[in-house]
Point group: C2
Chain length 256, copies 2
Amino acid sequence: MGKVVSIVNQKGGVGKTTTAVNMAACLAVKNQKVLLIDIDPQANAVSGVGVDKESIDLSIYDILINNEQIEDVIIDTGIKNLKMVPSEGALSGARIELVNVLNRERILKKNIEKIKEDYDYVVVDCPPSLGILTINALVASDSIVIPIQCEYYALEGVAQLMHTFNLIRDNLNEDLEVEGVLLTMFDTRINLAHQVEEDIRKFFQEKVYKTKIPRNVKVSEAPSFGLPVIFYDVKSKGAVSYMDFVEEVLQSEEKE
Amino acid sequence: MGKVVSIVNQKGGVGKTTTAVNMAACLAVKNQKVLLIDIDPQANAVSGVGVDKESIDLSIYDILINNEQIEDVIIDTGIKNLKMVPSEGALSGARIELVNVLNRERILKKNIEKIKEDYDYVVVDCPPSLGILTINALVASDSIVIPIQCEYYALEGVAQLMHTFNLIRDNLNEDLEVEGVLLTMFDTRINLAHQVEEDIRKFFQEKVYKTKIPRNVKVSEAPSFGLPVIFYDVKSKGAVSYMDFVEEVLQSEEKE
Ligand SMILES: Nc1ncnc2c1ncn2[C@@H]1O[C@H](COP(=O)(O)OP(=O)(O)OP(=O)(O)O)[C@@H](O)[C@H]1O
Ligand SMILES: Nc1ncnc2c1ncn2[C@@H]1O[C@H](COP(=O)(O)OP(=O)(O)OP(=O)(O)O)[C@@H](O)[C@H]1O
Ligand SMILES: [Mg+2]
Ligand SMILES: [Mg+2]
C-alpha cells in the first residue's frame, strides 16, 4: 500500500513532468488510487492535469514552510482516482527559507506518512536540481523513476544523480531503491539515440524499462489542453507507450 | 568593450547550454575575443567546447567559495579567441555554502570587472533555476539572452523569469537589459510551435530574434565530439542558424 515514487533527474527537460503526469493518470485509469505531488516551483504538473493555477489556495509551499497539514492541501483533479498536492512559484524561495530549519529534509516524509495508506501510489514530480526540494522527495520515497533523454548532455548527468542517490540512501533513507530508468523522447531515426541507449543499458542493466517513450507530438500538445496524453489522444504512440510503461511498473510490483 | 551576456531560463532543457556554447564559438569565429563562463553544476558547457573535465584544476566554484582570482581559473579551449571559466559538480553545494556570505550575489560581478576589458564578449551559461548561481550571473550581466523552446510548459515559465529579471534590475543591477529572445528547437511541422511563437512575439515584441534555431540532429550530435556545431558540420541548418543569430547580435550592437 501507498508506494511513494519520485521522478528525478537534475538534467533539465528530460520528461520528468511528462512522466509524472502520465504515469499518475495511467495508474488512475488502471484503478489505482493515486496522489500526484508537484514539488517543482515551475508547477508544470499542475497544468499538466488541468488544474487552474489561479484556483489554488494552499500548496506544497505551505506544507514545507507554514506547517500546514497535507490533508488540507490535497485537491481534486477532475480525473477519477487522481488527487494532487499542487506547487506554486513561491516555492523557489523555500530553498533559502528552509536553510536553518531543523530536520528540513524530512518534512515531506512526515506529511506523506499520514496519508500514505489512502493511496496505492504517490508520484512526486521534482525540479531540475539536486537541492532541498528534490532531497525532501528522495527522503520521502520508496523508489525513484529516472527519465533519461537519449542525448549526450543527458548522459553526463547520470553519475551526479547516482552520487546523490547513494548519499541519500546511506544517510537519510536506507530503503530507497531505483524503481526503473525510462528512456524518453526516443527518436529511432537518430544514431546518437541508439548509442546513448546502449550506454544506459550497460550502466543500469535490467533496471531500464523495455518500454521506450517515443518522441510524439501528441505528448507535447496534451498539456496545452490540460490533459494527460491518454485523455487527449488515447490511440497516439505516446499514450500507448505510457500505458505499456505503467503495465511494466505494476508487473514488477507483483513480483516483489 | 567586454559585454557580459547571460543565457537564462529556469525551464529545463530549452537550449541554454547549446546557445551559450554556439554563440561563444560563432562570436570567436567572427574575430571577437570571447570568455565563456559555465555557472551550472552540470558543467555541460565544458564538454560542449571539448574541454576534458578530468583536466580541470580550478573552477567557478573556487571563485565563489575559495576566493580564487578569476585570472587563475581561466583556461584555453583550443578554439581561437575563446577562453573559458569551467564549472564542476561541487558547485551544486555552493548554494548552501553561500547562504551566510555577505554580498554573495555580487561575487561574480566583482571578478568579471577585473578582466572584462580583455574580451569583446563574456557569455555565461546558467543552470535551470533562479537560485543564487543564476542571480550571480544576472547581477554581473549587461544583458540576457532568453532561449525558449516553442512548447507549452516552456511558455509557462516566462512570467516567473521576467519577475526575477525585474527584481534584479530594480534592486541589484539597474542597467540589466533583455538582449533578445531566441526560439530554439523550432519544428515547422508542429502546429503548437507556431502558436507558441505567436504568443512569444506578442509578449516580447521586437526583442525576439528573426532567426529561429531549427531542431537539427547535428546540433545534438556535436557535443558528443566536444565541438560547437560550426566546427562539427558548418553547412548544417543548426550551424547556419547560430551564425545568423550571432550576426543579429552583432548588428544590434552597432546600432547602439
Ligand atoms: N515523448 C515526448 N514527445 C514529445 N515531446 C515530449 C515528450 N516528452 C516530453 N515532451 C516535451 O518536452 C518538453 C520537456 O518535457 P518536461 O517538461 O516534461 O521535462 P522536465 O524534465 O519535467 O523539464 P524540467 O527539467 O524543466 O522540469 C516539454 O515541452 C514536453 O511537452
Ligand atoms: N536546435 C537543436 N536541435 C536539436 N537538438 C537540440 C537543439 N538545441 C539543443 N538540443 C539538444 O536538446 C537538449 C537540451 O539542450 P541543452 O542541454 O542545451 O538545454 P539547457 O537549457 O542547457 O538544459 P538544462 O536546463 O539542463 O541546462 C540537449 O541534448 C541538446 O543537445
Ligand atoms: Mg518538469
Ligand atoms: Mg544547460
